[in-house]
Amino acid sequence: MQSVELCDRAAGAESLPSREPKKKVSKQERREQLIAFLFILPPIIGFLIFTALSVIFTVIYSFQDYNSLSNISTFAGLDNYLELFTSPTRGPLFRKAVVNTIVLLLSVPFSMILGLALAGLLRLGEVKGSKFFQVLYYLPSVSSAVALNIVWNYIFRSNGLFNTVFGLDVIWLDEGATIKAAIIFKNSLNAMGGAMILYLAGMLNVSSELYEASSLDGAGKLRQFFSITLPLISPVTFYLLITGLIGGLQSYADSQVFAGGNSGATTIVYFIWQQGIQGNNNQGLASAASVLLAVFIMIVTLIQFKVSNKWVYEE
């Protein structure tokens, strides 16, 4: 029905010049419009079911209390949202998850700084095996997060490789700040390769004339880096920051696999999983947390689209 309605409207697309008489054209065009719509129908149905409907139901769940035994939902108003902040049992868990998630986001700027420094060095030294280093440094980004987390957990044990190599005696995997430090360390390391490649690509786009002109004016390499390179590659910085934040806000495997549920490293998504899936007893609360997370991520994403003009795909 929807497609019939759509066919009545004028085609927004630029149409190919046709050789056929006018009346026939419009019939043919309607046919093409219908077929065009049928071609995009599967992704649209998928979107409606797996995104739109799912989001709507998450919002509905967040206003309900659900009893999984009797399979009955009762209206709960804003109770779930209030409980996230005020419940004496779950409130502290949620607060902890929020704080942990935010602290763990520190790996985003760290990986960017490391990536920027590495890209600067590759560029400055005109390194011969530049491609080799790029492939190597990017390896963790295509590796399985579970596999990496298993081995990093092993590395960070009290008698593990990290403490041994650096001659330390730190208990990394405890409930306090050290486990977060360990996660930030490994995530910075794992993400710096991607940042390096993007920064390097950005630097190669900066016109060499700018550097030549400023050299004539007596600017040193360091000065050039800060007053030419850095401002001109700011789109890369922005892109890395936003994609890093969006990914980091959804972090789950670190809490589950690396930390094994250790309360020093629970994240918001881990909290949602714990409340909504693991015990399957508190889906309303989990949904309320999901809605808050989704709203926050949407705001971040919209800022990205606004600034980077990603919507402008038609040139």
Binding site: I44, G46, L121, L136, Y137, V151
Partner: protein
């Protein structure tokens, strides 16, 4: 050009240039050690026995090199890595074959057919990209449970059948570059739009599709969250779910086996990455600079 400059430079400056390069290589190699170390450690640990790996005293090399961690993965009913491998391949193949076809067909419509409100529909689909999975998962979980699909591969496969928005978006841009003349001749000969898509467009964009398929493949291969939620019987698990269930941060005796599993599950991904490395790095760089 820079190199000839170096030669014509005074001696002191040349020395400084060389020292700078030595410093840069030193930093890069130092960094490489950090990146290679986890993989080496994974490999070494996978040849240790559980006592050795969990020993209080630190040892770099295995006390005794054993391969039972690997053989156990193939024989133990609790951690059946071979069936996990098959399950992963089932998800990969079904999602990618159907999903790629669906995505490419939609992209063809967006790029070449007179689709009414095409910008609206494309933005409509893309708006889904900003919704985190956590905000979708609970209703889906409940529905899949009611449909009796809990602990099956269906919750991982079904959503993929409806295509992949980032693939659609990428292919739309690529297909726009294909001249209309290719299709006009076929249209005059009486070919329908579907035939135009299958016989003309698809072969023309094969490489672009292949590139997207590789990214999607790696994404599905490494996917952990959804498989870990839906799959509880070991023989129904995908590789990542199985690895997660070996979680050595909770069960220390599984550590060497988990490391062996991590090694085995990384091998196919590593082969793909290293054989398509140039393409990976270039696609990433283009995405970031343009994006």
């Amino acid at each position: 050009m820079e190199r000839t400059k170096h030669i014509s430079m005074p001696f002191g400056q040349r020395i400084r240039g060389i020292l700078l390069r030595v410093f840069i290589y030193a930093v890069l190699i130092f960094g490489s050690l950090f990146l290679v170390m986890p993989y080496v450690w994974m490999l070494l640990g996978s040849f240790k026995d559980a006592l050795d790996a969990n020993a209080l005293e630190f040892r770099f090399l295995p006390q005794e090199w054993i391969i039972t961690n690997y053989t156990d993965l193939f024989t133990s009913p609790n951690f059946p890595i071979f069936s996990a491998f098959l399950n992963t391949v089932i998800v990969e193949v079904s999602v990618i074959v159907v999903g790629t076809f669906v995505s490419a067909m939609a992209a063809f419509s967006f790029a070449k057919l007179k689709l009414p409100h095409r910008t609206f529909w494309l933005l409509f689909l893309m708006s889904g990209m900003m919704v985190p999975y956590a905000a979708l998962m609970l209703p889906q979980f409940r529905v899949f449970q009611e449909l009796g699909m809990f602990d099956t591969l269906w919750p991982l496969i079904l959503p993929g059948f409806f295509g992949n928005v980032s693939m659609i978006f990428f292919l739309v841009q690529y297909m726009r570059g294909i001249p209309n003349a290719y299709f006009e001749a076929a249209r005059i000969d009486g070919a329908g739009h579907f035939v135009c898509f299958v016989k003309i467009m698809f072969p023309l964009v094969k490489t672009a599709v292949a590139a997207q398929v590789i990214f999607w493949f790696i994404g599905i291969w490494n996917d952990y969250f959804a498989p870990s939620i839906y799959l509880i019987t070991p023989s129904h698990m995908t590789l990542q779910a199985l690895l997660g269930s070996l979680n050595p941060s909770m069960n220390r005796q599984y550590l060497p086996m988990a490391l062996a599993g991590a090694v085995l599950s990384s091998i196919p991904m590593l082969i793909i990455y290293l054989s398509c490395q140039k393409f990976f790095i270039e696609s990433l760089a283009i995405g970031g600079v343009k994006g």
